[in-house]
Symmetry: C2
DNA sequence: CTGAAAGCGCTAACAT
DNA sequence: ATGTTAGCGCTTTCAG
């Protein structure tokens, strides 16, 4: 019960304290013989190095912290997964904290991680990062995920405009004549999606487009009532393609349509666009555009590594905004830098838009969400 | 950039170092006035207490660690969620590590957490805990989730036998005459499910039962080939109810059945029994029995608290095995104790067994997995 | 409330 | 290659 410490190991192994420390941190500096003896003693005694003491004395921890707004959302998990793999690749640990949709908790864990002398911290913030500007000037590298803004800082986000564009292009490809976009563009991200949709359709003036900006919360119920409304229109006023700004919204629309006797995708095709890869409603799997969470997590860690090593790793495109960007000089701390990575979403075609094949396996490891 | 430390705060606020420490740890001991001054200074300077140093000096951390085998499985997430809420309730933080299906990593994070002087650690182990018996005698409270064995230790698991029993009872209720159980009982957990099924059926000797112990890995492909085999039987030799020992297996069976022109659930009903609440195959949602991950996480934390406070919290039933149990005397370390909690799974009726209502919302917060 | 001082367990120089 | 020692930043005590 009494915790065994490094001095115990040293005494028990008949070597000096510093030697045991070396065995732990610079094994190559020891005679294999001694090393073996020490390791045996360590195991025999069940010695566990006190990480706190290690870090206090040594410096850094070779581990990253990731603060997620919630755990029951596939997107966040993809981020976690991508971040984890990339972190391991660089020899870092990844610790995850669940902020549970709570601003206070998010902040709490953020501070906790920085206080633990993590090598770097990532957040998928619920609010804009402007919200806690204190963090930006902290001594620990930090990367914001799933969001971007023009404040100095490091950001990785899905390309929301592309998200809208992609789904609109699908509609066009499917020969839509009348597209209805459904949902309140309450957040910047949703606004960008709408923008993307409009941009794609600008090239096709013959296609009628209509936006139903209704409902307060973009819930399935909102979707249902809108769907019901659409169902009651005469067939020439009814859209042949509905885009839900969120997947739950789209699911609601589908339910309503089917309940009212309108078939999906035969009479009306429906697509979501926020990437719940498994979204389904009743029995019609929903076509959607998935933001590449895995990729975002990966890039996040890369940006962390970049800050740590103080030089770029990947040769990805760099978006520089305003005059707030300086050239990175090796070995020098860089302030005021604004670094953004946009990651392109991918389309998941499913039955609700009459996919070519029903089983669009799409290689990605999403199946496990089941 | 240079990290601000407690002495900086003290100097800047014009108080002594010890007072700042008190402001952090025993705010009630300070004049409100001084406290306010100190807090302002802390914010102004952006001071973050070095957690490592704190813990080294102070003692415990008020935080728990949770090691999960993977993040993309709903069950593990439910555990995380339940554990998190319960932990917060007691004022503890919860840090999660993803072992990514890797024994080594699992062990690594386990040691890491113990080395961080966490107040307690939970694991959902991939292997039996016998695998690393070293952990059991560590100075940090540890609870094993989703598994139980007779070694000394603390365990919380789903009641696998009940899982089998529940699904068998459903089959009976649905008027089954011929039940086929499909899958290799490769793990103890699966064996228990089979046992539960048999126990339930023991009361109904008129029902024919058959076990197809085929395939190596209980994959969807295994399920498919078994399903195909079943489909080819003559109708009087064909079961009217198939129980897959895992959900993917059951999904595979459904696919095969439908491909061969046998309708589900009209001709053959199919159920899984490992609780992927969203499991579906083609367009037939799968009935399954879900282990209550949330509850398991909650109980896990409770057992941790129990070890910490060295006295029982919940008045749940206690399974004591063998003579290896001692009465807990307050203030005394208790070794050799074997404490198990079994949590009862719940049934999720869906279309594959002809659920009464298609939309069985089942209150639980599973929807977000979408 | 202050000021001083003793560690917490470990790492990284520096000697040997 | 191995032993010795000075901190790392903080919490606690203890006397003012």
């Amino acid at each position: 019960m009494a915790k065994v410490k490094i001095s115990d190991v040293a005494r028990e192994a008949g070597v000096s304290l510093g030697t045991v420390s070396n065995a732990l941190n610079h094994p190559e500096k020891l005679r294999p013989e001694t090393l073996k003896l020490i390791n045996e003693t360590i195991n025999r005694l069940g010695y566990l190095p006190n990480q706190s003491a290690r870090q206090l004395a040594g410096g850094t921890t070779k581990s990253f912290g990731l603060v997620l707004p919630r755990l029951d959302h596939g997107f966040s998990l993809q981020i976690a997964s991508g971040a984890h793999n990339e972190a391991r690749k660089h020899g870092y640990d990844l610790l995850i904290a669940n902020a549970d949709n709570d601003d206070i908790l998010e902040d709490h864990y953020l501070r906790y991680f920085m206080g633990t002398q993590m090598s770097g911290v990532m957040v998928q913030p619920m609010a804009s990062p402007d919200w806690h500007p204190a963090m930006t000037k902290m001594p620990v590298p930090i990367v914001y995920l799933d969001i971007h803004c023009s404040e100095p800082g490091y950001y990785v986000a899905a390309d929301n405009e592309a998200q809208g564009r992609i789904i609109a292009e699908l509609a066009i490809a499917r020969g839509a004549h009348h597209i209805t976009v459904v949902g309140r563009a309450a957040f910047m991200q949703l606004t960008l999606r709408v923008l993307g949709i409009h941009k794609a359709l600008a090239l096709h003036p013959d296609i009628k487009i209509e936006v139903i900006d209704a409902g307060e919360w973009n819930t399935a119920v909102d979707g249902y009532s809108i769907g019901a409304q659409i169902a009651e229109r005469s067939s020439d006023e009814r859209p042949d393609f509905v885009i839900g700004l969120s997947d739950v919204l789209a699911s609601g629309v589908i339910s309503a349509l089917i309940d009212k006797g309108i078939s999906v995708p035969e009479q009306v095709r429906v697509a979501g666009c926020d990437g719940n890869p498994l979204a389904w409603s009743g029995s019609v799997p929903l076509t959607t555009v998935a933001p590449p969470g895995y990729e975002i997590g990966r890039k996040g860690v890369q940006l962390l590594m970049e800050q740590i090593e103080n030089k770029p790793i990947a040769k990805a495109k760099r978006v520089r905004i305003g005059s707030a960007v300086r050239t990175v000089t090796a070995g020098t701390a860089t302030e005021d830098i604004n670094r953004q990575e946009l990651v392109r979403p991918f389309l998941l075609k499913r039955a609700s838009t009459q996919a070519s094949t029903q089983t669009d396996a799409t290689a990605i490891n999403l199946g496990a969400y089941l």
